[in-house]
């Protein structure tokens, strides 16, 4: 039995689009585990390294020249907020991985600023993940991961690495920043995989 603070609204109401234990929010909370890196699009680059040591690199211009997608998705943060109907613009990982030869099963995503997160490579394929550079029709703001972030909305949002700079394809799984700190290695919101052992 906990103490209820009269008049404290918290984040909002429940809904069946909500995974278990989540609350809907209408704003876009900014969570940060470190200082926000400010990366200009001139210096920005994105790399994919395969398990064989082959490196594929894209400049900002290269990224902009690729076919774009406009995912309309719900996002779920492990801190219990969910946000419905978010609109993004970006390049599907299917496009970026098209010419990458790899038999790897795992991916380790890294960011400007040092953040990392891991997921199975198949979670980046088949229209499930994007390198997103715009939100709500505007360039992605630095506090939300601009110039570009990973967007993998079917997993908890810590997997959607802000300030993404590269992906390493690996034969063996390598846990990232939160995954080594106590958070679940996979992070499926519908199975409430928040922490180790969930």
């Amino acid at each position: 039995m906990s103490v209820i603070s009269q008049g404290f609204q918290g984040r909002g109401r429940r809904d069946d689009r909500l995974p278990p234990g989540q609350y809907e929010t209408h704003d876009f909370p900014v969570l940060s585990a470190g200082p926000t890196p400010y990366i200009s699009v001139d210096e920005w680059q994105f790399t994919i390294d395969t398990e064989d040591g082959a490196r594929h690199t894209w400049s900002w211009q290269d990224l902009m020249a690729l076919p774009k997608s406009t995912p309309h998705v719900d996002i779920h943060c492990v801190t219990r907020w969910s946000k419905f109907d978010t609109d993004w613009e970006g390049v599907s990982l299917d496009v970026l991985l098209e010419d990458v030869e790899s038999a790897a099963e795992y991916a380790l995503v890294s960011s400007y600023g040092g953040y990392t997160t891991n997921l199975p490579l198949e979670d980046l394929l088949d229209g499930k993940a994007w390198i997103a550079y715009a939100f709500d029709g505007r360039p992605l703001a630095p506090e939300h991961g601009g110039p570009a972030r990973l967007l993998v909305p079917h997993l908890y949002f810590w997997k959607s690495a802000k300030w993404v700079r590269g992906i390493r394809l690996l034969d063996q799984d390598e846990p990232g920043f939160w995954e080594t700190a106590g958070y679940h290695n996979y992070g499926d919101p519908w199975h409430e995989q928040r922490y180790w052992g969930d």
Binding site: P29, S32, A33, G34, P35, T79, W178, A181, G182
Partner: protein, 83 residues
Amino acid sequence: MHVDGNAAAGLLTQVFARDMTGAHGTCGSCGHNGPLAEAVVYGEAAGTVFRCPTCDNVLMTLVEAPGRILARLAGLRWLAVPI
């Protein structure tokens, strides 16, 4: 948005069962030594992240899960606790 280790005193006490803001930590990356009170703390994330005020290296993370707190201390070389 960040604060310093003073604001994490409650969580630190939860983990260590004593005040830790005056404990001195040595950064495993740059060797800076200082009280945890002066660490840069990012508290509005999935967990609480303590960073070195000199080089931003992650000293420690505390994740509050139901029934337990998971403490990762991998970025600290030493922790000197006054008694």
